[in-house]
Amino acid sequence: MAKTDIKLTINGEEVEATVEPRMLLIYLLREHLGLTGAHIGCETSHCGACTVDLDGKSVKSCTVFAVQASGGEVMTVEGLANGAELHPLQAGFAEEHGLQCGFCTPGMLMRTYRLLEDNPNPSEDEIRVGISGNICRCTGYQNIVKAVRHAMRELGHKEATE
């Protein structure tokens, strides 16, 4: 079977690769490009640890072929910080103890990043529904919700002072 040339933007950089069509996006990221931020938890579209942004939407990269993403724009957790400056969500997770083992965290960060891009002021309910495709084995979600609220305050503060 023929390999396919793909071209996509990942964290703002153009990437070209020649891949087997069956290669899942998560493997392109982790194994070909060394972007090991997105994790593989279940590989069955359930846990959300592999969540990345594709064309402005959260997707589970274990259930998208890299060829499907060709022509598109991908953002992974590696693209979240601004140089050494953490994204307010990353700061929020650190501040509010939004993680313990950290396995779900890259997916949680990318999902909540998109959630706040789409809706800067979600209610607690909307946050919980928003992360319902992301499983955390450790935190019981309480501190994740707090971390998102922390980031909301921070982002709101930024907007107010800029």
């Binding site: 079977m1 023929a2 396919t4 087997e20 069509p21 069956r22 899942l24 590989e43 069955t44 579209s45 359930h46 959300g48 969540t51 939407k57 959260s58 997707v59 589970k60 259930t63 998208v64 072929f65 060829v67 499907q68 999902r111 529904v129 928003g130 319902s132 495709g133």
Partner: protein
């Protein structure tokens, strides 16, 4: 969990897509959102040699009010359907159903067309389409034809769609203005297929039920149209007694299997409970509650 290899095609027009489907026959598979197909490919339950990705076909996207119907392009994602003002206005059961399908990430990829074409009795949209009397628009090498959702599902992964046909759109006739609706789904957790679920559409005229449709998810080899249950409501005030009778009639047509969702008796009973609750909720909404 690596799928078998395949060749990837991304046709630029519907005609080209139909040509590829015809060309590859049984060795080809249509790829929409991939959130039913890719899991099947990972398990090697599906091993197509060619995937025909509909991603570039913008003409298969979008939701349009055509007067009597709303016409939904097959490649419209579940998330886009959830966000549509046109759908919310004419047919709010669609958004209610999307909200109980999988999770936000899956709904961003999964399409309405894939959900109804798949033929898995666990999919939620087929029963809703039956209750709405929806029409599926199929395009094959010989042109376009329309076929009703009721009658489309013949068995597990077996539908009325011919192998060389593409589902291009779903036409949903607008239910009567002021109708009541509900989709009630029992599931064990987010992202779970239904233990049992019921879709109900009903309308009242002068306090009596003038229109009713009921269909069930995942309690048989296909979604089931509970026609007798719906008929039993017509002319009644849809009081508690009528609701219970309809739920009984709905349970009679169920043919679930015992699996991780529970044993046969439990699932049949839950189909009754979901029907009962969906009728009660639809009634409240029809009364403006």
């Amino acid at each position: 969990m690596i799928p078998a290899n395949f060749d990837y095609h991304r046709p630029a027009s519907v005609d080209e897509a139909v040509g590829l489907i015809e060309q590859y026959g049984d060795d080809g598979a249509i790829l929409a959102g991939g959130h039913s197909l890719i899991p099947m490919m990972k398990l090697r339950f599906a091993t197509p040699g060619h995937l025909i990705d509909l991603k570039a076909l913008d003409e298969l996207r979008g939701i349009e009010d055509t007067g009597a119907d709303i016409r939904i392009g097959a490649m419209t994602t579940q998330a886009e359907l959830r966000a549509s003002a046109v759908a919310a206005e004419a047919c709010p059961i669609l958004a209610e159903t999307v909200d109980v399908i999988a999770d936000p990430q899956v709904r961003n990829m999964g399409t309405l067309g894939g959900n109804v074409a798949n033929g898995d009795p666990g999919n939620d949209m087929p029963a809703v389409m039956m209750a709405l009397g929806a029409i599926y628009v199929l395009r094959g090498p010989g042109g376009e034809r329309e076929t009703p959702a009721n009658g489309f599902y013949k068995g597990i992964f077996d539908t009325e769609r011919a192998a060389n046909e593409l589902l291009v759109a779903i036409r949903v006739p607008k239910p009567p203005a002021g109708h009541g609706y509900a989709y009630k789904k029992l599931k064990r957790k987010v992202g779970d297929y239904a233990t049992a679920a019921a879709a109900v559409i009903l309308a009242l005229e002068g306090g009596a039920c003038s229109h009713a449709a009921i269909a069930l998810t995942n309690v048989g080899p296909t979604a089931l149209n509970a026609g007798d249950a719906a008929k039993s409501l017509i002319g009644t005030s849809v009081d508690g007694e009528a609701q219970a009778r309809a739920a009984e009639l709905a349970m009679e047509i169920c043919d679930p299997v015992s699996d991780m969702h529970g044993p046969v008796e439990y699932r049949r009973n839950m189909a009754g409970v979901m029907t009962y609750r969906a009728i009660a909720e639809a009634l409240g909404r029809a009364k403006g509650g």
